[in-house]
């Protein structure tokens, strides 16, 4: 070991786990032969002693006992505030949940009422629908027959009785358009327009058709 190396480790010769501590023996051997380095080592040891004295003098130092009491009081106060906030949050959450339930109940009630109304309208078509006159389009029957009897299901349509949310719409359409619904229309009668009630499902697709007699429409 040379003097430069000794100087670099002299302050950690007594510190376990350091490079200086690992080289302690060779450092001591070097110090025995070098007057300058032995003085460095003595100074370092004296400093260690002084630092240990300071450490010992301060070992019993601690904050005053009242500080712990003050901090505990602060903790208690914060806990109370936290509990209060938690209760307020719970009340707010309960209120929100109650409001949501009310809104849900109201929506459900409204939906059920609307569904009943549609079903009633489907089940009870307008009374003024007459029996078509001779020569008119077929399948126009008396509305009093049965629930859906007066309607002619359109090709590829669902059973009108299974429609949950539909509407009856009265339309005026070219007579020729009846053919597009798969209804038989005589070529001679394909001119002009015809009035009809359509059962339209919720997605807007016509499901069934019922022709409305001219006399009935005129009387309206």
């Amino acid at each position: 070991m040379d003097c430069a190396q000794f100087e670099s480790i002299v302050h950690e010769i007594e510190r376990p786990g350091t490079e200086g501590f690992a080289l302690r023996e060779s450092a001591l051997q070097h110090a025995e032969l070098c007057d300058r380095c032995v003085r460095l080592m003595i100074d370092a040891e004296a400093l260690d002693a002084g630092l240990r004295a300071v450490m010992s003098a301060a070992a019993a130092q601690k904050a005053p006992a009242r500080m712990e009491a003050e901090l505990i009081a602060e903790l208690r106060q914060r806990r109370a505030a936290l509990l209060g906030r938690r209760v307020r949050l719970q009340i707010a959450a309960l209120g929100t949940a109650a409001a949501a339930l009310l809104a849900l109940g109201f929506s459900l009630h409204h939906w059920v009422a609307r569904t009943r109304d549609v079903a009633a309208r489907v089940a009870s078509p307008p009374a003024q629908n007459p029996v078509p006159t001779a020569g008119a389009a077929p399948n126009v029957v008396d509305a009093d027959d049965s629930e859906y009897a007066s309607f002619q299901p359109l090709p590829y349509a669902d059973d009108p009785s299974t429609i949950e949310d539909g509407a009856v719409v009265r339309v005026e359409m070219p007579r020729a358009a009846l053919a597009s619904f798969g209804l038989p229309v005589a070529a001679m009668e394909s001119d002009g327009t015809v009035r009809a009630d359509l059962i339209v499902s919720a997605d807007g697709t016509p499901q069934a058709i019922r022709l409305v007699s001219q006399s009935s429409t005129n009387s309206e």
């Binding site: 302050h11 004296a46 240990r52 301060a58």
Partner: protein, 221 residues
């Protein structure tokens, strides 16, 4: 420095977050002396040390979740908080750095243990026989001599630049390893080692200087 396992610390902090007074008291009693001493050694002012200690534990009460066990020990975390508070104070009032009264703010050195005295005697107080020791002309081994030694070393420490003072306080007076100090100071281990080496060299130089006349006359009285 006493360190508990991270798991234990994390558990205690979880209890503190739930308002558990016993858990807080346990952490406080275990950790506060080191924090207080650190602040006291760094400022030389007992009142400031109390304030800093209180702030550190108030921070723990306010936000116990700030401590992340994955990033280090609770002790290291608390030292870091204390260090930040000290730096803020120094920013506000640079006068706190001055260490004017030697041992005035510290209690009388009645608790020096035998080991320390033995070391002083063995080491440099008598200059190792070559008349060039740090504590030359020290009086006989009595309470006064020990107090005088402590006062001089404290005085020397207090005049170190902050970066050097904190490594001396952490590594020498709180007996932290380089790794622990590096964690507290948030710097590489090599930086701690080099700062400590430099700080000790500065302390040796400061302690070589002749004692002030005021002290000498006080001794004479």
């Amino acid at each position: 420095m006493t360190q508990t396992t991270d798991f234990g610390d994390a558990l205690l902090l979880r209890r503190i977050a739930g308002g558990d007074e016993d858990a807080f008291a346990e952490v406080y009693r275990r950790k506060h002396p080191a924090i207080y001493r650190f602040a006291l050694h760094m400022t030389g002012n007992a009142s400031v040390a109390e304030d800093v200690t209180q702030e550190v534990f108030m921070a723990l009460i306010r936000d116990p979740h700030r401590f992340d066990p994955a990033r280090g020990t609770l002790g290291g975390f608390l030292f870091g908080v204390a260090r930040n508070h000290l730096r803020k104070r120094w920013e506000q009032d640079r006068r706190l750095v001055a260490f004017d009264g030697g041992a005035d703010e510290f209690p009388a050195n009645g608790s020096s243990n035998g080991h320390a005295r033995e070391s002083i005697a063995r080491g440099g107080l008598n200059g190792g026989g070559n008349g060039r020791g740090l504590f030359v002309q020290a009086p006989a081994w009595d309470e006064f001599a020990a107090t005088e030694t402590v006062g001089r070393v404290r005085q020397a420490i207090s005049t170190l630049p902050e970066n050097y003072r904190e490594v001396v306080v952490l590594c020498e007076l709180e007996e932290m390893s380089y790794e622990e100090a590096a964690s507290v100071l948030d710097c590489p281990v090599g930086t701690v080692r080099s700062r400590l080496h430099r700080a000790r060299a500065m302390l040796v130089e400061k302690l070589r200087e002749p004692r002030p006349v005021r002290r000498a006359s006080a001794v004479g009285e």
